[in-house]
């Protein structure tokens, strides 16, 4: 089965928007292409779901890629990539802690920055700065991407 993703050029890097089911196969392919250095892993809340953005680089020639994928609120699960890049171990823990993405297969998925007994994921947009639930906050509808050959709508950095 071919991988479902869209690529585009942004500044000096190649950006891959990928279907969550093909998130790990794509990254395995990139690892095979020699992207050996883990730059960054960001978790973010887009008000219709959660997004994970992975930045990688290749030390040999400095090529850079960005991979992102969206998961819905009710099933915020992604396969872990710590076995490909062990450097993402704490980054995934942080994304779980602050945003709430659960990584399957992570060796030690605990909260890292906040206390273990907390229940909220404070960087989600449903909370205000102080960690209180915003009154009347409603999630937005999921922007359906019917065909991965077309550009997914409204994924340019998230909507206000």
């Amino acid at each position: 089965m071919s991988l479902r993703f869209k690529t585009r050029e942004e500044f000096d890097e190649v950006v891959y928007a990928v279907h969550p089911e093909d998130y790990r196969p794509l990254l395995e392919q990139l690892k095979g292409e020699g992207f050996d250095y883990p730059r960054n892993l960001t978790g973010m809340d887009l008000e219709y779901g959660l997004r994970v953005v992975v930045h990688l680089t290749r030390l040999a020639d400095g090529a850079k890629v960005t991979v992102y994928t969206d998961v819905p609120y009710d099933a915020p699960e992604l396969p872990s990539i710590t076995d490909l890049w062990p450097g993402f171990e704490w980054f995934e823990r942080e994304a779980y802690d602050l945003v709430g993405v659960r990584f399957r297969g992570h060796p030690d998925l605990r909260r890292i920055l906040t206390e273990d007994h907390w229940t909220i994921h404070p960087l989600q947009k449903r909370y205000d700065t102080g960690g209180y639930e915003l009154p009347g906050w409603q999630p937005k509808p999921w922007p359906e991407v019917a065909d991965w050959e077309e550009a997914p709508e409204g994924d340019e950095g998230g909507e206000a």
């Binding site: 960054n40 960005t66 890049w85 062990p86 700065t129 340019e156 998230g158 206000a160």
Partner: protein
């Protein structure tokens, strides 16, 4: 469960678990490491962080772009000014702002001055962990001179909030270049003292050579950066890999050492100080004497798009991932901090070492908890 994390008692009769930190003089802040000891040998090391988690990323979503620069200063507070740059570069990319030449060189000078200041703090506190008090006092004395120079121009000592979109916030003090040149001459005379007290000291060499060896592959896979990575034989420096500001026009070397032990990490930072001196000297020469210090920036900053930029601060690869939604406040900012990635090496490096070595290794990683916990 309420209350601090309970550490389960060990199941081995010959192992003793100790909680090192958050209040421990050798943790450089508020790191907590649960260390299992078998005699003096470390059998396990579990780091716990987050004791300085200050919700940087959440609170920055509620601030306008110029306000956020103040917050970025407070991440790696030892090298305060350097933290502003990745965020500023990312926003400049998204806005398409041009930075004038003079501002580029001024940024480089300040950037490297803070690298010197930060390495001096590291050297002093690192030698405190080795049991020597005197280098600490010497390095802080030299650091004060740097801060005085910065204060004359920027108005504050440690966290000056001086860089801004399109350049720097104000022009430098008339004495600035002379002061910096004087300081460099003074500091070059001081460096042999530090070599004698630290790198060439036989006691230090006995403690540092062959201790805490980090293999090259492991360093890359763990995402280590900065002197920790370069001491393991990888010549990855963001200043060379993705140059920013005036670095492409400046000649400098990236010190690399193959051993990957504590001594190599100390050596790399020493050589970086020497390279910084060279860079500042070149930058002073090449700075245009007249010219604008700030480019044209739209008055109402409406940033749209997503951008990740990185710079090489004293501790390594500091990145900022800025996502704007077209308003004057960011939708999401993620700071990728070097010490955060470097600290993942604690279990790799500490297990099997002796307890005194564990302290030495921690000081050679040089974490700053403002950026680890953010």
């Amino acid at each position: 469960m309420r209350g601090p994390t309970q550490i389960l008692p060990t199941d081995r009769a010959d192992e003793m678990l100790i909680n090192m930190g958050p209040q421990h003089p050798a943790t450089h802040g508020v790191l907590k490491v649960v260390i299992g000891l078998e005699g003096e040998r470390v059998t396990r090391a579990v780091p716990h962080i987050g004791f300085l988690h200050r919700n940087h990323e959440k609170i920055e979503e509620a601030r306008t772009y110029p306000q956020i620069i103040t917050y970025t200063d407070r991440m790696d507070y030892v090298s305060g000014l350097q933290n502003e740059l990745p965020f500023i570069l990312a926003v400049e990319d998204l806005l398409g702002v041009e930075v004038p030449d003079r501002a580029k060189y001024l940024r480089v000078i300040f950037f490297e001055l803070y690298r010197l200041a930060s390495h001096l703090v590291w050297l002093g506190t690192g030698m405190l962990d080795f049991g020597a008090i005197t280098p600490f006092l010497y390095t802080f004395r030299d650091r004060e001179r740097i801060l005085e120079i910065v204060e004359k121009t920027a108005g504050a000592r440690m966290l000056p909030n001086y860089f801004t979109f399109g350049g720097v916030r104000r022009d430098v003090h008339p004495d600035f270049f002379k002061d910096v040149a004087d300081f460099l001459d003074f500091f070059e005379k001081r460096l042999p003292d530090y070599y004698a007290l630290v790198l060439d000291s036989p006691v230090f060499q006995a403690r540092a050579v062959g201790v805490g060896v980090l293999p090259k592959e492991r360093a890359i896979a763990r995402g280590a950066s900065g002197p920790v990575l370069r001491a393991s034989g990888v010549a990855y420096d963001v200043r060379k890999a993705e140059p920013y500001d005036a670095y492409p026009e400046i000649e400098f070397e990236v010190p690399v050492r193959e051993e990957g032990d504590v001594y190599a990490r100390f050596w790399v930072r020493f050589k970086e100080m020497e390279e910084s001196i060279k860079i500042i000297r070149q930058a002073i020469e090449k700075t245009p004497k007249v010219g604008p210090y700030k480019g044209k920036v739209p008055a109402r900053m409406k940033v749209k798009g997503s951008r990740y930029r990185a710079v090489e601060i004293s501790r390594g690869h500091l990145g900022a991932h800025v996502v704007g939604d077209g308003t004057d406040r960011p939708y999401r900012i993620k700071h990728r901090s070097p010490s955060f990635a470097n600290l993942q090496l604690i279990p790799d490096l500490l297990v099997g070492a002796r307890f005194a070595d564990a302290i030495a290794i921690l000081s050679s990683l040089d974490p700053v908890f403002g950026e680890v916990d953010r």
